[in-house]
């Protein structure tokens, strides 16, 4: 407050601040500022804040569209109780968390290896980077259908290759078995998302100054030691970004499941988002669906917070 208002009173040009005519202009600027952020904030509130509020309201009411005559009366915690009693929610939760942990761990390790590979200067580096960006950039529909083709027993490459190599399993109908279906989903998910992790971690690697390694080498550190003691700690911010994005995306996995397995065989690959979609658009039960949605939001927030907390810079 002090220096700036003195500067203003003396009509001195303030460095970095608004031009000296500012007294009134500053107020006008502030008003303009609110006007300029308003469209973004309002539009995002419409597509996130409003659904959250509406879901909360629905989750305490009986809102079933197929039962149009029924009054949409207040039912208390009935929809939330149903999460744990009648339907497959606990099983889907366990499955979703399992998929999340396995896919994020495997994809992070592969992504780190890929990032270290791209960090070296070699011929064909640009080609490799373009080649891994394409799987990331194509629609999930493409990766899901592409891997459905690859795993198809009749027209797919996987069984064909196993057959040529005389390996067991060349007659596998991958999407028809619970664990083989999960394996196929995992491959499709990793193919699309490992590049994303690699790109983020590569940027993190490039932020580490080279003389850090020089110093470590002079001190006689081995490659593994300098990776373990220098690279990994310095990579922490990039790892955090990659983990937050990937963990939440894996927790909310929907497209791949819907397209590749449809939740099957049986209900063995139904995830929380799949269950949520079914509640809304198959059963048209917006009360129960609202309860699932609210839990999705709460769990997502908790997980993002937990990752940021665990990975916080330690200084």
């Amino acid at each position: 407050m002090g220096t700036r208002s003195v500067a203003r009173r003396l009509r001195l040009p303030s460095i970095g601040g608004p031009p000296p005519i500012a007294g009134v202009a500053r107020k006008a600027d502030r008003r303009l500022g609110y006007a300029l952020v308003a469209p973004a904030v309002l539009l995002l509130l419409l597509v996130t804040g409003f659904p959250l509020a509406y879901n909360l309201w629905n989750s305490f009411h009986n809102v079933i569209l197929s039962n149009a005559g029924a009054p949409q009366n207040f039912v208390g915690l009935k929809n939330y109780a149903e999460l744990f009693t009648t339907t497959g929610f606990p099983q889907a939760l366990a499955r979703t968390l399992g998929f999340m942990v396995v896919s994020v761990v495997l994809e992070t390790i592969a992504g780190l290896a890929l990032a270290l590979m791209l960090h070296r200067a070699f011929r064909g580096r640009g080609l490799l980077r373009a080649a891994i960006l394409i799987p990331w950039a194509v629609p999930t529909v493409v990766s899901a259908l592409l891997w459905t083709t690859m795993f198809d027993p009749r027209s797919g490459f996987v069984d064909y290759l196993l057959g040529i190599l005389h390996l067991p399993g060349s007659q596998t109908t991958w999407l028809a078995g619970e664990w083989t279906a999960w394996a196929a989903v995992l491959v499709a998910d990793a193919w699309k998302n490992v590049p994303f992790i690699a790109i983020i971690l590569l940027a993190g690697l490039q932020l580490i100054p080279g003389d850090v390694y020089e110093a470590a080498r002079i001190d006689g550190a081995s490659t593994w030691q300098s990776f373990r003691r220098m690279t990994l700690p310095l990579l922490r911010p990039a790892l955090m970004v990659a983990l937050v994005f990937r963990t939440l995306q894996a927790f909310l996995v929907f497209d791949i499941i819907y397209i590749m397995t449809g939740g099957g065989p049986g209900t063995t690959t139904e995830t929380l988002s799949y269950l949520n979609w079914q509640a809304f658009l198959v059963d048209t039960n917006f009360g129960f669906g609202g309860a699932i949605s609210v839990s999705l939001v709460v769990i997502s927030l908790l997980m993002a917070g937990a990752i940021v907390f665990v990975m916080r810079p330690r200084t």
Partner: protein, 311 residues
């Protein structure tokens, strides 16, 4: 004149031992051999990654070039890595019998619409957050970024009810507003960071000359920010082009489908799943994205990483 070959010979003779020495030593010493072995392993690794990334695309291209009859026979000894007879019949079927052009156009309209709205809205918000003295700017920015993590399926139910009440179901235009949840957080963040780096003197000169803030934004800030605007635009287009969940939930009639939804429905509506037809459509929607990646590789990488690592 005659000295030219001699001097090259001489310089070659001088240079040769220097250049050749490490190569010879490489084979002779244990350490050199290990390093060369590492080099070979490294390039093998690169090759494996290239194959994993690109071979599946070859496989769908291969499948898409089969006729229905050949597809039904499956992959076998005569019909392996390359199909016995190449034909474009799957592509022709997609566009004539399955009317794939309509969903492609729908997708293009929605993705372009989303990109334009995103750029305008994100530029305004990004400018205000970078330059104008608004209170609570940090909180607003946090909200915009957090919105990007909102569960998509938690939006589907309420927006379905809203669009139903407004008579906007089975209509592609509401998708543009819906897709902003994919595009606005990243674009606003990117543009805000870019605007914040522009020297203030540039704007101040225009402001002193009597230009309004909005004129300055349009005539001074945006022109020097074209690279960032372009990056935000490409990423927005990709994100909007890729949606499946919203299209699946809000669209009903085939003439309104977006391309990803149409392809998935191709697969479900037939008794026999003709992957050759499905994969032909997959190839078609992959091409624009592949071209975008090839021409704008650097921008996409810098957008993704600047969007997540700075600040």
């Amino acid at each position: 004149m005659a000295s030219t070959p001699a001097s090259t010979k001489l310089s070659a003779a001088v240079a040769a031992p220097v250049a050749a020495a490490p190569r010879v030593r490489r084979w002779r010493t244990w350490r050199g051999r290990r390093r060369l072995g590492g080099q070979v392993l490294f390039y093998l690794g690169v090759l494996v990654v290239l194959l994993i990334a690109l071979f599946p695309f070859y496989w769908i291209l291969r499948t898409s070039l089969e006729s229905n009859a050949e597809f039904v026979q499956g992959v076998g000894s005569t019909n392996g890595l390359v199909p016995a007879h190449l034909t474009l019949s799957s592509y022709i079927d997609d566009f004539t019998q399955l009317h794939f052009l309509t969903p492609l156009l729908n997708s293009a309209i929605v993705a372009f619409g989303t990109t334009v709205v995103t750029i305008v809205v994100a530029s305004l918000a990004g400018y205000a957050l970078a330059r104008l003295p608004i209170r609570g700017g940090g909180a607003i920015l946090t909200f915009v970024l957090l919105a990007g993590f909102f569960p998509v399926l938690a939006m589907v139910g309420p927006l379905f009810l809203l669009y139903r009440d407004l008579g906007l179901l089975d209509n592609i235009y509401p998708l543009i507003i819906t897709y902003l949840v994919y595009t606005l957080p990243l674009s606003t963040w990117l543009l805000r960071n870019f605007f914040a780096q522009i020297p203030k003197e540039l704007e101040e000169a225009a402001l002193v000359d009597g230009a309004s803030r909005l004129q300055t934004l349009r005539k001074v800030v945006i022109p020097v920010s074209i690279p960032a605007v372009f990056t935000a635009g490409i990423l927005s287009f990709i994100l909007a082009w890729n949606d499946f969940a919203f299209a699946l939930s809000f669209l009903d009639s085939p003439s309104k489908f977006t391309a990803p939804l149409a392809i998935v429905v191709f697969g479900q509506s037939q008794f026999e799943t003709y992957f050759n037809r499905i994969d032909a459509a997959v190839v078609v929607i992959t091409i624009p994205i592949a071209i975008l990646v090839l021409i704008a590789q650097r921008r996409i990488v810098s957008g993704l990483t600047a969007g997540s690592l700075k600040g």
